[in-house]
Symmetry: C2
Subunit: 216 residues, 2 copies
Amino acid sequence: MKVGVLGTGVVGRTLADRLVELSNEVRMGSRSADGEAVTQWASAAGERGSAGTFADAADYGEVVINATAGMRSLDAIGTVDPWSVDGKVLIDVANPLDFSTGALKLSVCNTDSLCEQIQRALPGARVVKSLNTMNCEVMVHPEIVPGDHVAFVCGNDEGAKQTVADLLGTFGWPAERVVDLGGIEAARGAEMILPLWLSIMMKKGGGRFNFALLGG
Amino acid sequence: MKVGVLGTGVVGRTLADRLVELSNEVRMGSRSADGEAVTQWASAAGERGSAGTFADAADYGEVVINATAGMRSLDAIGTVDPWSVDGKVLIDVANPLDFSTGALKLSVCNTDSLCEQIQRALPGARVVKSLNTMNCEVMVHPEIVPGDHVAFVCGNDEGAKQTVADLLGTFGWPAERVVDLGGIEAARGAEMILPLWLSIMMKKGGGRFNFALLGG
C-alpha cells in the first residue's frame, strides 16, 4: 500500500520505517521536499521510501498519516490540496501539546479537538484518530509492552476505522485490542488523556507503557 | 476514624456506606442538615452514621471527602469554614462534568482543575485527588473488576497521599495499585480522562471497568 506520512520527527520516522519494513511504499512529507530530515530518511529507507512536501505525501498516499507536531499540524494540513485526499483515510496520531508557556497545556480541548480541526480543514478525507495515546515505539511494536493494552480509534466513517484497525493489525495489534470509541468527537477524550499520560511517563521515566481496559 | 462525606448522590452514599461498613464513623453533609437524602441515609446507616450540613460534615471528619457533583463542588466547599479543615486530608473524588449545554464538557480543565480550585478555597487542607477516574462501585469494591487496574492519587502533601492510600487499602486496593501522579497539578490529567472514560462507558453500556497500566 502507498502511505503518505506527514512529519519528519521521531513519530513520523518511526511509523514510516515500520511501514517500509512491512513492504508498504512510503512518501514522507515535510515543509520542503529537500529538507535535511526528509531526504535523509528517504535515502536510508531504500527503494520503497521517497521524500516530498506535505502536499506531495498526502497526494501520494492511499492512506495518509498526520504525524506532525500537534502545534504545527494545521499549518501542514493547510498546505494539502483537499481534493488530493478526497475519500482517503487520514490517520491523525498527533497531540496538540503546547509547551510554549513552560507549563504543559493542550492548544485545543474540551469542546473541540485537533482531529476535528483537521477533519474540518479536509472535509472529504475520512479522518480517524488513533495511536496518539502511546509512545511511538509502542505504536508500531505493541509487543514491547506485555499484556492486553489497547489502541483507540474514533471517527465518523466505519470503513475508515476498519482500514485503520487492519493497518494496526500489520503492526501487531490484535483486532480485539483496537477499541472503537465512536464518532470523531471522541477524539477530544483521546487527546485529553495526554496530561495523564505525561504524568505517568515522568513517574516511570520512560514511555514504554500503555493503558489496558479491564472489566465491563 | 471519623469521616465527613460531602454529597448525598450515589457517589457520596456509596462511599459513606462502605466507610460505615468498615467501622468508620461517618457524617454525611448536604446543603441543609434536614434534607431528605441526608437524613434518610443517616437513619439507614445506624449508630455510626449522622447527618449535617456540608460545614458540619467537614468539621466532624478527621478525613473529609468531596463527593458532590463537580458543578456544585465550589458552592459546597464555599460553605465550609476553612479553619475547620486546617491540616486535614480532603479527598476530592468529584469531576467537573458540565452537561448544561447538552454536549459533554468539563467546566474547568487544561490550565486548572476542580481539585486545585478546592485547594485554593481551603488552603490549609491537604487536598488529594483520587478515585475520580472510575465508577463508584469500583471505588469501594475494586475486586468487582478482575485484574491489576489502578487508582491514582495526586496532591502536594506526601503524608496526605499516604493516608489516602491507606484508606483505599481498607476498600481493597493493594498499595502497588495506588499510583502517585505527583503534585496537585496532575489533577488536571486525572480529571481530563473523563471524556475518554465516558466514551468507553457508553460503548460498554456500563461503568464496571477500569484502566490498568502495563509496561514501563
